[in-house]
């Protein structure tokens, strides 16, 4: 039998939260009109930007750290096959059970089966990008299992029947009054006299979650790092709710993207400096939990590690795109992105928003998308990235792999042909001068589509009477 190799499989369509159903420009248009969202985003991103800049500025070796992080990630991706097997061996040797999932569908099935086997119908969850990517909560719900998000912002998103809009601050689009309403509506045990004072809101969530922590038999987490050498999984967080999930229940199931593997324990030193400073703008995050397999009599007595591909190997196959897998999900690129700051996370239609989402989502899904164009290529993301992912160059690369509209392609072909020789270019410049006919007082105020997209908000100067090259020739 002969087989044609069609490339590595991408993340399946229709499962999880990678595929948005609206093009970015249309989704962004709605978000731009939401004045509350604009204000929240502007305030939050400016605050985190300033905090990050302050703590990054403290380190003289920041650029060296970035280069170390980049080199470690490049090494990891080049040796991913061996490191993953090493991780499996180490986790197994310490009493954990490793599962391999080709895609979101397989990963969800594995987790559903594991939870069912425990006989419980409610699990607590640590905030996790990977489980949001594969749509695990929906898969659990379909199986009659309730998943309770325990990260405060994730809880707000979940209770609001909403989607996260930021990697680090998933409820960035909500204000205090909205959160109060959500709590009163969705938390049966909430005190009706609850105000929108932040401490009161936090205490209400705390009371709600404590009951869940104490009753849960199963917890589900993601992973920031998985150390191949020792089989140690690491989760970093701010609230301590993650620590509750990771230590109280009998069974812990960790869902980890295969790119999260780190070669050695020592390498963690680099990433634990890069991540909190880039992410929350802190020198160190409040809670760093690490565990290796199972410790008898202490913490969960059953530990499952589910390793998920879901398109990652396909990304790895592209030399110009694979460094998107280096991402440590810090969200620094979101906070410095002028497009994200205004359009917000939902416009990207994916669990991964912002600049990193614009390069990761198209590669994981392999789908045609407007996301690579959702950037002015200003380069702020590359400068902020703690592992030096050259996002602007990758966006340019991905644009060249996207199908182009027929008329646009013809126009760009014609312009390239015209500009291919100075003689033709000069002729083109003469044609451009006809624009003087539609100018009033030296300004063009209206052009036909698609250029009306420019003149809707901006004037265009009239072409000059004499081009530079004609002036030079007559000089």
């Amino acid at each position: 039998m002969t087989q044609t190799f069609l490339g590595m499989p991408h993340a399946p369509a229709g499962v999880g939260h990678l595929h948005g159903d609206r093009p970015f420009p249309a989704a962004a248009r709605d978000a731009l009109a939401d004045t509350q969202l604009r204000r929240n985003l502007g305030h939050a991103t400016a605050t985190i930007r300033a905090k990050r800049a302050a703590v990054v500025g403290e380190l003289e070796d920041w650029e060296d750290l970035r280069r170390a992080g980049e080199a470690l990630k490049a090494y990891t991706m080049a040796n991913l096959d061996e490191l993953l097997l090493q991780l499996e061996t180490a986790v197994t040797a310490r009493g954990g059970i490793v599962h391999w999932a080709r895609d979101a569908t397989e990963a969800n099935q594995i987790v559903v089966d594991l939870v069912r086997a425990t006989g419980t119908d409610e699990v607590v969850k640590v905030k996790s990008m990977a489980t949001a990517e594969i749509g695990l909560n929906e898969a659990l719900a379909d199986a009659g299992i309730a998943a309770v998000e325990t990260d405060l912002a994730e809880l707000i998103v979940q209770l609001g029947h909403d989607l996260p809009s930021h990697i680090l601050v998933p409820a960035i689009h909500r204000n205090r009054a909205e959160i109060r309403e959500i709590f009163l509506r969705e938390m049966p045990d909430a005190d009706p006299s609850l105000t929108d004072e932040p401490r009161q809101l936090a205490m209400a969530a705390r009371a709600h979650l404590r009951a869940k922590f104490l009753s849960a038999k199963v917890a589900i987490s993601g992973a920031n790092f998985g150390i191949a050498e020792t089989g140690t999984i690491t989760v970093v967080e701010s609230e301590g709710n993650g620590r509750m999930c990771l230590t109280l229940p009998d069974t812990l199931i960790t869902v980890m993207g295969i790119e999260k593997v780190v070669p050695t324990w020592t390498d963690l030193e680099v990433f634990l400096q890069l991540l909190p400073r880039s992410s929350t703008g802190e020198r160190m995050n409040p809670y760093t939990s690490t565990w290796s397999g199972v410790t008898p009599g202490d913490g969960p007595q059953t530990f499952h590690l589910v390793l998920v591909d879901n398109g990652r190997t396909a990304v790895l196959a592209d030399p110009a795109g694979r460094s998107a897998l280096h991402c440590i999900r810090c969200s620094a690129c979101l906070n410095v992105c002028p497009v994200y700051e205004r359009a917000g996370g939902h416009a990207y239609g994916s669990v991964y928003p912002g600049p990193i989402g614009a390069v990761l989502t198209p590669q994981l899904t392999g789908a045609a998308t407007s996301l690579p164009y959702a950037s002015s290529l200003c380069g702020a993301c590359f400068d902020a990235c703690p592992v030096r992912i050259d996002i602007p160059s990758m966006l340019v690369h991905l644009r060249s792999t996207q199908p182009h509209p027929v008329i646009e392609r013809a126009s760009f072909g014609a312009v390239a042909w015209t500009m291919g020789s100075a003689r033709r270019f000069r002729f083109g410049e003469q044609l451009l001068r006809l624009g003087r006919l539609i100018a009033r007082r030296g300004r063009i105020r209206r052009l036909p589509p698609p250029l009306s997209a420019w003149t809707d908000a901006r004037d265009l100067p009239a072409p000059p009477a004499q081009t530079f090259r004609d002036w030079w020739a007559a000089r």
Partner: protein, 242 residues
């Protein structure tokens, strides 16, 4: 010193004053300026919109036009960024290793105007006078691709009579981004609105930058709203002596 002027397609066709001003500044400093007539466009718009294959002819044309010169100077951070960071890549991706090498050689001797004045000619005072209140917008590609740093500001600080006022959130993109301004016009306009708000808050008469493209965008918004603030290219200020 014989220097080739890479005027850029946009300045050639739309902003010839910027090209003339660049010639004025360079000649005032004793530079012999040549204008290679074969030049057209660096092809950045094609590369950045996803038409790398179509840009190949433009890269070849650019290399052939500028190869014979010792130095190439352009009044644009963005176009120099493309020459430096994209030309060899476009040739390599098309399988033309020889062209990639030639493009790399041209890139190595190509300078944005402020780089050429400060780094090559070692001049910060170019003998200019411009008695106006001006704020400076550092364009993204000059800042983050070329790392021109404060070179344009050092040049502006030496201009007689110029009242330089700091632009709040100066390093944020104005929202131009080439075809981004049309493909994502709403987001681009939202970015432009904030840039204009910051420009207006300085009470400057003119907003200065080193790229005609970004100035066309910021100036287009300022003009539409009848703000009375004009865009002015760095070269135009440096060429001015009254």
């Amino acid at each position: 010193m014989r220097v080739a002027l890479f005027v850029t397609c946009l300045a050639d066709a739309m902003f010839p004053d910027v090209g003339r001003a660049t010639v004025t500044v360079l000649e005032r400093l004793g530079v012999e300026v040549a204008f290679p007539p074969g030049q057209t466009c660096c092809g950045q718009m094609h590369v950045n919109t996803g038409y790398q294959r179509q840009a190949l002819a433009l890269v070849r044309n650019h290399v052939e036009a500028f190869e014979p010169f010792d130095h190439v100077v352009a009044p644009s951070g963005s176009c120099v960024g493309s020459v430096r960071h994209q030309h060899a890549m476009v040739a390599r991706n098309a399988g033309d290793a020889a062209l990639a090498e030639r493009a790399q050689a041209v890139a190595a001797k190509t300078y944005e105007l402020s780089e050429f004045l400060v780094d090559v000619l070692k001049r910060e005072d170019v003998g200019a006078a411009y008695p106006h209140r001006v704020t400076y917008h550092p364009t993204c590609h000059s800042l983050r691709m070329l790392r021109v740093d404060d070179k344009p500001l050092r040049l502006l600080r030496q201009v007689r009579g110029l009242d330089l006022v700091e632009l709040p959130d100066a390093e944020q993109c104005c929202g131009f981004g080439g075809t981004f301004a049309v493909k994502n016009a709403d987001t681009s306009t939202a970015m432009l609105a904030d840039k204009m708000r910051n420009v207006l808050s300085t009470r400057a008469e003119a907003v200065c930058a080193g790229d005609s493209s970004c100035l066309m965008h910021i100036g287009g918004g300022l003009s539409r709203l009848r703000t009375g603030v004009r865009p002015v290219h760095l070269a135009e200020i440096l060429a001015s002596d009254s």
